[in-house]
Subunit: 345 residues, 2 copies
């Protein structure tokens, strides 16, 4: 199609590098574009009530494996992943549109099952499915969802608002969804090696549920609002704590310190990580798919947030020069590395 003599592989740039490369020359020209590329959702609209919009595509063989992701769960999860981005702006999700592409391997019943999961998520989060598209695909299943939400302008929380001495908080616990995936992949291999083996999933309900049926933390932003706390910056944990800390720091032009001892990891996650010879903190930092909220608060809100059962205060915001560091149990300190995803290659 064009000269490709110095072909550059996507891998060389990585996900974030490629996105930056593609979007850095974009300039918003439409008056109703308040904030474009660079946060969990775009912010649109001319009145004080803003429209939030975010999109995500899930691809078979990359984001899910139908040998252990049931279609109904998958439909539910595909919605949640998108709603989570609206929630991470401190917004209320209201509608979704859904595009599906699938090969003839899928029956009507299979697509109905997927849609049932989508419908259940819409019901649970009180969101309307207002449009979409279906198409065939040469191979596999792809699900593209765009979520629409709203927020009063002054309530929107961006990635860019963290300031020195703010406290770093996270909802729920981390690393469980990743361990759930490890377990499912192991049992799949066992099954492939010997189809008569029954999967050994006893006692792992929690981490499996975290992988197969994550939730968007709409409850957390409601709780914060009720308590009068407006985070100074926020993001959802889709790619792992480390990667999200990078995003908050880069957007806010600050550094952060996170404490291993304060990082919430469920005992079931720890047990599973030990079985797999993995360090639980590494799972929390680089695992992803937890869809918890990572946010910063002003110190004045410390007492209020400290009492919230579903929120942990895990660190604080520093000067940019101090970098992004983890303080280990033994009081050692190391620099964070953002892994992002590495689907290519």
């Amino acid at each position: 199609m064009f000269e490709d003599t110095q072909r550059k592989e996507i891998e060389e740039l990585g996900e974030f590098g490629l996105i930056k490369n593609l979007t850095e020359s974009l300039q918003n020209k439409v008056p109703s574009t308040i904030f474009g590329v660079g946060d969990d959702a775009a912010v649109l609209g001319e009145g004080t009530k803003k429209t939030l919009i975010s999109t995500d595509m899930l691809v078979e063989g990359v984001h899910f494996d139908l040998s252990f992701h049931p279609l109904k769960h998958l439909g539910y999860k595909a919605v949640v992943v998108n709603l989570s981005d609206i929630v991470a702006m401190n917004g209320t999700p209201e509608q979704i549109v859904v595009s599906l592409a699938f090969s003839s391997r899928f029956s009507v019943q299979a697509i109905q099952e997927l849609y049932e999961g989508i419908r259940l998520a819409c019901e649970f989060y009180q969101v309307d499915l207002v449009g979409g598209d279906i198409s065939s695909n040469r191979q596999g299943l792809a699900i593209s969802i765009t979520a629409v939400g709203t927020s009063e302008e002054e309530e929107i929380v961006y990635r860019k608002g963290a300031k020195e001495n703010d406290l770093l908080c996270v909802s729920g616990d981390l690393g469980a969804a990743y361990m759930g995936l490890q377990l499912l992949e192991r049992e799949k291999q066992v099954f492939l090696a010997n189809p008569e083996m029954q999967p050994d999933l006893d006692g792992f309900d929690y981490i499996l549920q975290r992988q197969l049926k994550p939730e968007a933390r709409l409850d957390i932003i409601k709780e914060l609002k009720k308590a009068g706390v407006r985070p100074t910056s926020m993001i959802d944990v889709s790619d792992g704590l480390a990667s999200e800390i990078f995003h908050l720091c880069d957007a806010s032009n600050v550094g952060m310190a996170v404490y291993e001892l304060k990082t919430p990891i469920d005992p079931a996650t720890v047990t599973a990580a030990e079985q797999f010879n993995l360090d639980p903190m590494t799972c929390a930092l680089n695992g992803g798919e937890d869809y918890e909220l990572l946010f910063t608060i002003d110190q004045k809100d410390f007492e209020t947030v400290r009492k919230m059962e579903s929120v942990s205060i895990i660190g604080h915001v520093t000067q940019k020069e101090a970098g992004k560091v983890v303080v280990t149990k033994n009081d050692n300190q190391f620099d964070l590395k953002a892994q992002g995803w590495k689907h290519f290659g």
Copy 2:
């Protein structure tokens, strides 16, 4: 995953049957959902200025063939297809979000080329690209775009407003994009059979351009607005005239008669159709991808619209009982059949 003893193939239902099956039980519950599934775009928002939203996914090997769709053109077309849906509601497109999934076969340069086409379309239509997602894909390229637009509530034109004795109008001409595709596919086969053959595309610029670089008819809705004409119903021609007439009739609960002699078909389309032993009117009815606007107007607007160079009055609205009919050159009459697409199977 579940009992599949009476597996039903997607083909049995067809595209429209499947969409109906999946969406008929949906009920909108959110106050800001004004209109959900069932038109070119959903209508959202609580004020008088409404948000329009529409989504479409283009899949390699189904909607495009990279051996003759250059990536830059493809990016442009993917945007246009979505903007056209906003225009078909009589709205102004303002933003898009773009999700891409592609295999490692694509280089950084290839994706940049695709994005360049997306950027050019955004520039031409004065639309901002405000977000997106990129992901790897096991095979091929998929492009999912969601377009956002606005319209004052009283200016929105739905599919459902056509009434008996309204006049049926279409912008531009029909069937050219389909003939462009036939030509490209033929030359591809010739090339595959003998790579030394040069493609014979002389004199076919117009139909090629219609296939490779379609435009959304934002100019038409501006012209109508300026002339004080508000269509009573409207849709864009993506699947062919026949299919769109079905949509307008079903939504408006009316019948329609369309006249072959009045249907605008470019001479280049006629010439190409003759070469392929195709009936030009069949190409117009079932070809698709023209992205022209099909709309109805009240008879009072006849004199105004008759003077518009880019609009043809091709028929009229009848009672539902009269059906959907084509009146041929020879004054014969036959019932229309909507083909939709048949990607599955």
